[in-house]
Symmetry: none
Subunit: 238 residues, 2 copies
């Protein structure tokens, strides 16, 4: 085991809502190997803190950066930190979750991307994998190999461990979700079975599951003879 003297990771929380900031701080406090270095409520302040800490010789290792800040966007702050050449890693925390933001965040050198609201367990997973990533690189000699680099990258990868209810498979749920998202219009179970190659029972089971978890909207479709058919539509903004 290469345990022992791993340096503590100093964390700065950037979050304008005091309540959320406090919650995140509490989360950080519960995690071994991390230390709260402070809190900032604006982009300006965040940048100042990071820069000041660096020149004071006690650099911030990690910033938990909310994307929506009163004075600027988190991505802008990240870019500014990058331009200054500060050696700080950034985990993006945001309630906004459109694809462009994710792309932008990765381009800005964000190591993880957390969507609010999240549980402690999700939070812990992300930060732990970041800690592993650091340990991996710290454990290397000054010269690294391709496979060492690959491993370091890989430990930044999220395990994505969402438990599914018995009887449902993620590999089936995913196509269903994608189809619903792609299709703007409401979809019935029978309409789902053909393009996905599923039986009606299975299609209905997954749609029902999505409806129960609140991800899709369920409504009866009247007008035709026979018992009304349920149609399911993806809730945009979810």
């Amino acid at each position: 085991m290469t345990e022992a003297a791993l340096p503590v990771i100093r964390v700065l929380i950037v979050e304008d809502e005091p309540l959320a900031a406090e919650a995140h701080a509490a989360y950080v406090g519960r995690l071994a190997g991390f230390e709260l270095a402070g809190t900032a409520g604006t982009g300006q302040e965040a940048f100042r803190r990071v820069a000041a800490a660096a020149s004071a010789g006690t650099p911030i290792d990690l910033v938990l950066m909310d994307m929506n800040l009163p004075d600027s966007h988190g991505l802008d702050v990240s870019r500014r930190i990058r331009s200054a050449g500060l050696a700080t890693d950034i985990i993006a925390i945001t309630a906004v979750r459109d694809v462009d933001n994710v792309r932008g965040a990765i381009a800005a050198g964000v190591v993880q991307y957390l969507i609010k609201p999240f549980t402690y367990s999700t939070f812990a997973t992300k930060l732990s994998s970041y800690r592993d990533f650091r340990a991996e690189l710290n454990g290397q000699a000054s010269n690294v190999t391709q496979s060492a680099v690959d491993h370091a990258f890989a430990s930044l990868r999220a395990p994505t461990d969402i438990p599914m209810p018995k009887g449902l498979a993620e590999s089936t749920l995913n196509p269903v979700v994608r189809y619903l998202q792609a299709q703007g219009a409401p979809v019935s179970a029978s309409e789902l079975m053909e393009p996905l190659g599923l039986s009606r029972v299975t299609a209905r089971r997954y749609l029902e599951y999505l409806a129960d978890t609140g991800l899709v909207l369920r409504a009866p479709r009247y007008g035709a003879p026979g018992r009304p058919e349920n149609e399911y539509s993806w809730k945009s903004g979810r």
Copy 2:
């Protein structure tokens, strides 16, 4: 499969040694889904090309950035591209391989890190996983979920060389790979056991390993009663 309509990824090669640049260009040409957008020999030129392409409406999607450039360091160029807010992803290519450079590269938003010299196979793996990452995000609606983000991260930083787990032998893996490559069509574990003389459990274990390394695609096969059978198909372009 939902192949086809993925947009081509436009690649700019930044490399001062003409020989290396040519080699990389040839590599890009061999990969499906990528298109050479040009070559730059200096950091200045690289930045100009990226900026010009963006304002011309034909943006560079990906830069293969050598770190050692005559006029500046690749990381500086990367940071400059970031500061300009250009939506370009960067793969670092370098012969220098100290830990700090790796850290800096990740902080600068580099999506992959390639150490020279590399084989075509290594190169292809990195670019393919980048392509998968793009496809993953493109396939999403404008709003994504945490698990979608996690998956995208995962495919981007997928470990490329998972050490062969205990219980698997090279001498068994090779025939499996050959059979998959020869067979154009997807193959299930049961279909593999007969021609190779393996038990179902063993066949499945090897297929599963290949799926984990990202060399083969795994998809459930619906339509028949019973638990769905997984079918595995060799990823072309690897």
